[in-house]
Symmetry: C2
Subunit: 158 residues, 2 copies
């Protein structure tokens, strides 16, 4: 867990960015190989990575799963309009839901933007009826279904 969690930028140099780029491509690369690639000693690379984890620049290492192949054939994006006074409560509730993969508070009329992953239509309907609609202050929900994933998170610029 990172020690500092205030959302301020951390000063990163070109070497840090290069390390991040390589870790982004392969999160399980050994420190030894990473050090060879960026032409720095292993200890120095480990120290930099450790520092970036501590400062929260690197949040964690994870496996990227293909939802479709894991049996989640339905991806949907929701814009949820919530009465402001219930926003926090609704957001915390939805965050805990395993079907919700991402949840953001946005500017604009539909404050909450949500991504959901479902096995099928039946499961999505159950989610809407039993989990989303019963929440307090839900004023409107619009839903768009994913047709094709052109690009997905991996490899940010920096």
């Amino acid at each position: 867990m990172p020690k500092q969690d205030h959302e301020s930028a951390v000063q990163l140099d070109e070497i840090d960015r290069h390390i991040i780029q390589l870790l982004n491509k392969n999160g399980r690369i050994s420190f030894t190989d990473l050090a060879k690639e960026i032409k720095l000693s292993r200890v120095a690379v480990q120290a930099r990575i450790h520092a970036m984890v501590e400062s929260g620049v690197i949040e964690c290492f994870t496996a990227v799963i293909n939802p479709e192949k894991a049996g989640l054939h339905l991806s949907a994006f929701f814009n949820v309009e919530v009465e402001p006074k219930y926003l926090q409560e609704v957001a915390e509730n939805l965050s805990k839901d395993p079907a919700v993969s991402s949840l953001y508070h946005m500017t604009g009329p539909s404050k909450l933007h949500m991504h959901g992953l479902f096995k099928d239509n039946r499961e999505m309907e159950a989610f809407l009826e039993k989990r989303l609609y019963p929440l307090p202050g839900i004023m409107s929900v619009d839903c768009q279904i994913l047709i094709k994933r052109y690009k997905s998170r991996i490899g940010m610029k920096l």
Copy 2:
């Protein structure tokens, strides 16, 4: 690279799901520790992970970066309406843009849903003016700015 890339589901059992869950929490856990946690031999665990990478269930391993701390203070979501005949061209073009972190083709009037990460307002404006608006067939763009990230991808259900 996965050998099969047709988007069909792969049969996963409870042990596979458990492995995915642990790899999701810590993508750099050693096979040895993973094997201890799920009470299976190292060789069996490695074989299962290897099979899931080959079949494309596990797309890759990666580092999750906090954009804010990496100096990308502005996250924005765009709904882009494109003339259908230019959709493919526009999508391919935008996919290559380093500022675009996610790009999806959705149902609904605004076919393309896009997430962008920018250092600041100035950079976003430059992206809009120089990269997005000049593309062919762009009919409308609406943009929402991220206020707060409640939940972000990590740890899907399965």
